[in-house]
């Protein structure tokens, strides 16, 4: 099942794990991503997970449910998950196909995803009234 090199990489950035997907993933690679990430959430005591799916030009129902499960499992292990980099046509196809995306947290890209997690962790500084901008 784990034959061949992984088509994704998991990087650690402070308290966060960043999973970067390199190319289209098949179902077994998707499950491998889920397992590796959940494993590393515990090992690195991560508080947040960002999954960058920008290279995916298709996100099917299996991928959606895997991502949903992954987010739920990570939450149970103490980390919050944000999916970033969904392409416009992919986003539209996902809702067209009626996929259940309600519980998935999303952000535009990696940078926004990091802001999202930072805001969620420190609610006091989440809306700086003077700056008006998250920088």
């Amino acid at each position: 099942m784990d034959a061949g090199p992984a088509l994704f990489s998991i990087l650690r950035q402070g308290d966060y794990l960043i999973a970067s997907i390199h190319t289209a993933l098949d179902d077994s690679q998707m499950l491998r991503l889920q397992r590796d990430l959940i494993d590393q959430v515990g090992r690195h005591r991560a508080r947040g997970v960002i999954i960058d799916v920008a290279p995916l030009d298709v996100i099917d129902s299996f991928a959606t449910s895997t991502l949903r499960n992954l987010a739920e499992m990570a939450r149970l292990r103490g980390a919050r998950t944000v999916i970033v980099g969904i392409q416009p046509d992919v986003a539209f196809a996902m809702v067209e196909l009626g996929m259940n995306t309600a519980s998935i947290e999303t952000a535009l890209d990696l940078e926004e995803g990091l802001h999202h997690l930072n805001r969620a962790r420190s609610p006091d500084s989440s809306r700086p009234p003077s700056a008006g901008f998250f920088g």
């Binding site: 999916i83 970033v84 969904i86 392409q87 416009p88 046509d89 992919v90 986003a91 539209f92 996902m94 809702v95 067209e96 995306t101 309600a102 998935i104 999303t106 952000a107 535009l108 890209d109 926004e112 995803g113 999202h116 809306r127 700086p128 009234p129 700056a131 008006g132 901008f133 998250f134």
Partner: protein, 301 residues
């Protein structure tokens, strides 16, 4: 009265044994007759047009100019048998008169009137010889019908071209995605949303979200007269898709009718963040983005 008359009589005398070459003489004869009586026939025609209350959008001067050119074109087609020049002229004419509200039945009407006026004059000329008249009409009618056809088709084609052009223009104009502040877009929806437009609109919105790195989008539907079930569901999907791109959507300007429609058809409204009007929507969006707008004391007083 014309040079043709003796030969016409000769033709009619030879009627039973008439051959192809003589038959072909009829058309030039006919054409020269129509050229000769051009002014009288054109005026008779203009009188008939006036009597039928057609082309009332045009001034008498324009009518005179247009009827003259239509008449000349008409005779020319009878002569040459080629409708290309007429097609060109008809398209030009249509281009000029369509914006003035001239209808298809008027254009077809005037061409048919001209056909009748000319046919009458042929009856008059050849009334003494029924056989010849018959053959003249045999030559005249197919050409006249082809002309009527050509003009009508050119007019309708031109009209369709104009309609297509306007549809494209409306489509281009009607879905602007406007950045109002950093990370804040507004999308005013004006006019009827069909599913094709709704799809295009979503696509443009999603691309704009990425281009402008938008976090909040205010969709204002004040200008949308009505929403049916398909479009309402499409709106919900647009909200979902925008969320997947990391942007929240605020819907504003829901009219009482649309609100009633949405509730009646049972669209899932939980995901819809709606605020009364565009102003309120923009204020809410600014709050979400952390902007505070204050009015300066000196100018505000």
């Amino acid at each position: 009265m014309t040079q043709d008359s003796p030969s016409a009589e000769k033709l009619s005398a030879d009627f039973p044994t008439i051959d192809r070459a003589d038959e072909e003489q009829l058309l030039p004869q006919l054409v020269s007759h129509l050229r000769e009586h051009r002014t009288r026939l054109r005026q008779a025609w203009a009188g008939r047009i006036d009597g039928a209350h057609l082309l009332q959008a045009m001034t008498p001067q324009e009518m005179a100019a247009e009827t003259t050119s239509v008449y000349d074109n008409y005779v020319e087609v009878l002569e040459t048998g080629s409708v290309e020049a007429l097609q060109h002229y008809a398209r030009d004419l249509s281009e000029r008169i369509i914006p003035r509200g001239v209808e298809t039945h008027e254009v077809v009407g005037i061409v048919l009137l001209l056909r009748d006026v000319l046919a009458r004059s042929l009856f008059e000329k050849y009334q003494g010889d029924f056989g010849l008249l018959n053959r003249v009409l045999d030559a005249y009618e197919p050409a006249a019908n082809r002309i009527a056809n050509t003009v009508a088709v050119s007019f309708v084609e031109e009209r369709e071209r104009v309609i297509r052009q306007q549809q494209d223009a409306i489509r281009e104009l009607s879905t602007p995605v406007l950045p109002v502040r950093e990370r804040l877009l507004i999308l005013p929806i004006i006019g009827v949303l069909d599913s094709e437009r709704a799809r295009q609109l979503t696509e443009q919105l999603l691309i704009a979200i990425r281009t402008h790195r938008a976090q909040v989008v205010v969709v204002d539907i004040t200008g949308a007269p009505d929403v049916d079930e398909a479009v309402a569901n499409h709106l919900v999907r647009t909200v979902d898709a925008s969320r997947l791109m990391g942007a929240s959507v605020i819907i504003t300007g829901v009219s009482p009718e649309i609100a009633q429609t949405l509730v009646t058809i049972g669209v899932d409204l939980n995901k819809m963040n709606t605020i009364g009007d565009l102003q309120g929507g923009l204020e809410a969006a600014e709050r979400m983005l952390g902007y505070t707008v204050t009015r300066s004391e000196e100018k505000g007083g």
